[in-house]
Symmetry: C2
Subunit: 84 residues, 2 copies
């Protein structure tokens, strides 16, 4: 059993209204030293796979097919083996 931690964020050139809104919220709360906020998604996925290589291939395929929008988003992930 593997645990994949998938981080999905907008590509640097893509406009991020959610991040801008969070930044304004932080400024309103007094955190004036914040210069940029980018918002993304974080997923923890448990999956069965015969080895780490196979698990990585599956997570990559899932991310491209469903989890991320490859046109505007990029993703990275970490894998760790967990007891079943």
């Amino acid at each position: 059993m593997f645990l994949a931690k998938v981080y999905i964020s907008l590509k640097p050139m893509v406009n991020d209204p959610q991040g801008l809104t969070i930044k304004q919220g932080l400024h309103t709360l007094g955190f004036a030293q914040v210069s940029s906020v980018r918002a993304g998604k974080y997923l923890e996925i448990q999956l069965d796979a015969k080895d780490q290589l196979n698990a990585a291939a599956q997570v990559k395929q899932m991310s491209n097919q469903l989890l991320a929008n490859p046109v505007i988003e990029e993703f990275r992930f970490e894998l760790e083996e967990i007891p079943p």
Copy 2:
């Protein structure tokens, strides 16, 4: 200048309809080996601070005040120094 990577996820006991929906979507696409999906948020925040300790204190305060809902969510973060 520091870059904080903040990971916000629902506490383990909290129901996660978004994660369940993603799991069902993955099953529909043929990824039957996925047993659990938990959805969360991922934020990249650039901020000015005089040192790493001060930056960490700020990010913790921001997370508790605005970024995460401490009742149902938990957060963790990483800090790295970046050139201004």
